[in-house]
Symmetry: C2
Subunit: 187 residues, 2 copies
DNA sequence: ATTATCTATAGATCTATAGATAATGC
DNA sequence: ATTATCTATAGATCTATAGATAATGC
């Protein structure tokens, strides 16, 4: 599981530092020097492992894809609620990707395509999950495809409210309120 | 309504250019020079009107507060849907404030406090609106205070999905699906 | 007179390249 | 031998200050 070669370990260290720095400053304002400093390297030393700043961002995004690679047959709505609960304990990671999402809507942002593709796929997965849970119609009459972007929007929107004011917003409890709105599945 | 003095007009021009540049690059990556260029000024000329970059940001945020100053007694849920529809025609503005929101969760961002305060107040307004519409319980059994952060989250979350892929997400239609989930008010 | 704008510039950054040296692993 | 890291540095930026000049409005 852990990186094998010396080089892989170094890359993993750098990636973790990059996640932290991006959480603190976003990608554009994150400097290679500040990432390098956290792992005891010079900025030029870091560039030996990732040849450009963008290569480092790409590696960050690829890592995220690995976390998310949960076989989606196993997903259920109540497990989604647990995921939200879990995220509420990993503020740094949530902040990293919320900051990246925010930046990604600006022009020529190197993560823009990534997020565009990702949301298309997340909406599709969510629709599938809802279909598995409810069949072709939710109790409200909405189709899974209609409800999917709503559920995804709630997940992201809640993260921003929570990051700005963790004491004012209980992400997990609020997400469960969405499940109330969606209605109880029949099964 | 329009700015009166020469100076006020100039400031208004600069503000509009700043909104555009922030939409394109975010605040941190927006340079004073690029804002100045759009109004035919040098960067130093711009600084005559806004003494620091942060002062310019503050002015941008204050302007937003003015737009939002709709007497909230007049708000109703279906008017919110029209607002979403309207926003779908103002991509630039939506992008400006989505980018700022995204950046604002990073440390020491000059808009962080602004957004924290703003969301507290937006949630309170939304709860008030829901109470006016539904009374103390929505059809689902949720209280207005429980549903408010959800509705706000949907508004923001949809904006990100729409900005990334306008053709894939119909903001207004999807928001109306949320209204279906909330249920028809009795009155 | 006052306000607006410009030129010049200081002082910080930032990314990336070139090439030397140090450390590691056959 | 190869990989990792460093020093040196080019070439772009960026914000902000200082002080001169141009334009505007009593």
């Amino acid at each position: 599981m852990t990186a094998r070669t010396r080089s892989d370990r170094r890359r993993a260290e750098i990636l973790r530092a990059a996640l932290d720095v991006i959480a603190e400053r976003g990608y554009r304002a994150a400097s290679l020097a500040s990432v390098a400093e956290r792992v005891g390297l010079t900025q030029q030393g870091l560039l030996h492992h990732f040849p450009t700043k963008e290569a480092l961002l790409v590696a960050v995004l690829e890592e995220r894809d690995q976390w998310d690679a949960v076989p989606d047959r196993q997903w259920r709505l109540d497990l989604l609620a647990s995921l939200v609960e879990y995220n509420a304990m990993r503020r740094g990671i949530v902040q990293t990707f919320s900051a990246l999402l925010g930046e990604s809507v600006t022009e020529e942002h190197p993560a823009r395509e990534y997020f565009t593709r990702r949301y298309a796929s997340v909406r599709a997965d969510m629709a599938r999950l809802l279909r598995a849970e409810y069949g072709e119609r939710l109790p409200s009459g909405l189709t899974p495809a209609q409800a999917a972007p709503l559920v995804v929007a709630v997940l992201d929107g809640l993260q921003f409210q929570w990051l700005l004011d963790p004491d004012a917003v209980d992400m997990a409890a609020t997400f469960r309120h969405l499940l109330v709105l969606l209605g109880e599945p029949d099964h």
